[in-house]
């Protein structure tokens, strides 16, 4: 057997999957079952005690989900992964392993709005305190570190404007502070950026977006890079201390460089409960098989649309890191040389009314609150997701009255441009 390493596209099709042992089925079957029979009492005890590899109950693990987990772990270059019901669930499960009440984590200010809400409000009631930092000012992360800091959270390509984060610079801050760096890689997907190669210790995704890619199934995933030593200083007791739930097992000592993924499964998913449906896992797996093809087309289309918009007289500005004039173009060349993603914003000279008018006139672009679909999507944040904010707050969050966000699909780019042309023109 050679140690020759297969490429990304081969892993996207094969990693984690093999013919079904019982039937020989080549596609991964949907194991739509809640539970799995034990061979005997000793087998049951071994599984419950984490001594044996195997299946117990779909809230803890499922064979279809396991294929998805191994595939994403392989694509990200991690040691293990855990699939959960949504990207939001992934964030709760990750931070539950790291934070005790009263602890802090530092998060980049530029994040998906849903994450800002979750961190600010929902997590506050758990006693997990978010401290915001500016991803365009690395020193602001250093200044935010305190003895209670347990993690740093960033997005690789940040919502909504598609700005690129300097992952390596922030990973240096995390290493110095002795805390893990968590990177939400949803908008890049591992095809464009592999955060672990740049110093991430944990990667999370909303699988709902580009990985699943077809706008049909919710899902989330946590990837363990295997790079963080959880044993130092008793800072991460979920990993380093004997767990009463498992008669005194220490997870890091027992599971080594995939202990974090195991903690997320046996302490997080088991007890919090956000399990992924095996049917959704199957849909997302099917999507991932074509990820390299789709992602390249998404990026190529996005660049063409961004260039078109940048030259349009009704457009005031375009924020797309793939444009040479963009503020984030240097970072895009370094971190995402294959393309700067397919989610970006632009602003209209006609302000709020022009934004509302554009959205109503578009025929191919769908007006909805999602990104990373095969279909091209549009949203005017000021009249929808951010409509409750006052104008100043809208502008601060990148959702000023004149701003429109696009998620470019894999249609023919000429048709997308023609649709924008008719909607902007009249």
């Amino acid at each position: 057997m050679s140690d020759r390493l297969p490429g990304f596209s081969t892993l996207a099709v094969h990693a984690g999957a093999q013919p079904d042992p019982t039937t020989g089925a080549r596609a991964t079957p949907i194991y739509q079952t809640t539970s799995f029979v034990f061979n005997d009492a000793d087998h049951a005890a071994s599984l419950f005690g984490l001594q044996a590899f195997g299946n117990i109950y779909t809230r803890i693990g499922n064979p279809t989900n396991a294929v998805l987990e191994e595939r994403v772990a392989a694509l990200e270059g991690g040691t293990a992964a855990l699939a959960v019901a949504s990207g939001h669930a992934a964030q709760v499960v990750v931070l539950q392993q790291l934070l005790q009440p009263g602890d802090e984590f530092i998060a980049a200010r530029k994040l998906y709005g849903g994450s800002i809400n979750q961190f600010t409000h929902a997590f506050k009631s758990f006693g997990w305190n978010v401290v915001w930092a500016d991803p365009d000012d690395i020193a602001s992360f250093e200044r935010a570190v305190t003895p209670r800091t347990k993690a740093i959270f960033i997005e690789s390509i940040a919502n909504p404007a598609g700005s690129i984060t300097d992952i390596e610079a922030i990973s240096t801050v995390a290493r110095k502070a002795g805390v893990p760096l968590i990177v939400d890689n949803t908008l890049a997907s591992p095809y464009l950026i592999r955060p672990i190669d740049h110093g991430a210790d944990i990667v999370v995704h909303s699988l709902t977006k580009f990985l699943g890619g077809h706008g049909n199934s919710l899902g989330g995933i946590i990837v363990d890079a295997g790079t963080f030593d959880w044993s130092t200083g008793g800072k991460y007791p979920m990993l380093s201390e004997p767990r009463p739930e498992y008669h005194g097992i220490r997870l890091q000592e027992t599971f080594g460089n995939f202990a974090f993924a195991i903690a997320c499964r046996v302490l997080g998913l088991r007890d919090l409960g956000p399990a992924l449906s095996p049917f959704n896992a199957f849909m997302i797996l099917t999507g991932i098989e074509t990820l390299p093809l789709r992602m390249q087309k998404h990026c190529d289309n996005a660049k063409a649309v961004a260039e078109y918009l940048a030259g349009h007289p009704a457009v005031a500005s375009v924020n797309y890191a793939g444009l040479p004039s963009d503020k984030y173009n240097q970072l895009a060349r370094k971190y995402a040389p294959r393309g700067a993603g397919a989610v970006f914003t632009f602003s209209l000279k006609g302000g709020y009314d022009a934004g509302v008018s554009l959205v109503s006139k578009l025929q191919l672009f769908s007006h909805l609150a999602n990104v990373g679909d095969t279909r091209s999507l549009v949203i005017h944040p000021a009249s929808t997701t951010h409509s409750q904010l006052d104008d100043a707050a809208k502008i601060k969050s990148g959702a000023g009255p004149d701003v429109v966000r696009l998620s470019i699909g894999i249609e023919d780019k000429e048709d997308l441009i023609a649709d924008l042309e008719q909607a902007l023109g009249a």
């Binding site: 050679s2 299946n55 392989a74 992964a81």
Partner: protein, 194 residues
Amino acid sequence: MNHDAYPDNYIRGILNSVKSIAMVGASPVNVRPSYFAFKYLMQRGYDMIPVNPGHVGKELLGKPFVASLSDIGRPVDMIDIFRNSSHIMPVVEEALTLDPLPKVIWMQLGARDDAAAAKAESVGIKVVMNRCPKIEYGRLSSEISWMGVNSRTLSSKRAPAPTQGMRLSLNRMSVGGGNTAASDRAAKNKSEQS
């Protein structure tokens, strides 16, 4: 051998060839990692010998404990050491007095002693440090994939469902990723401090 990163073929060759394994530091406590590994390797068909002077006269899963390597009284292919890095050297020194010599000395996850490794390698013994044979067997057979672990292997072949006592094929195509550099570094630093 570069002990910071083992080629899969090196580990595969060891696990495919050894038949008997003496586990130094085997614990009868069923939440200890040594118990997990002992039980699993026994179920996968290895001839297991528990070595622990504190439990002589008792059995581990039906196998009688012996006090030391020299008390085994028959040749063993591999010695699996479940001790901290600072306690490795005396075990390796004792292993080097055995006749015939073991073919492999394996130090458990978190354990690393480069001087002891060099000593064993100088007489032709293969050495693995800071790895778990249960994890490596589960990984190369892909049985560990049930836990969402990246086996770093691929196969288009239909394999039988694992049952108790079955040896599994470890001959799958190897894949990159699953960096272990950080945990290797941590173990190395700990052994240098002690």
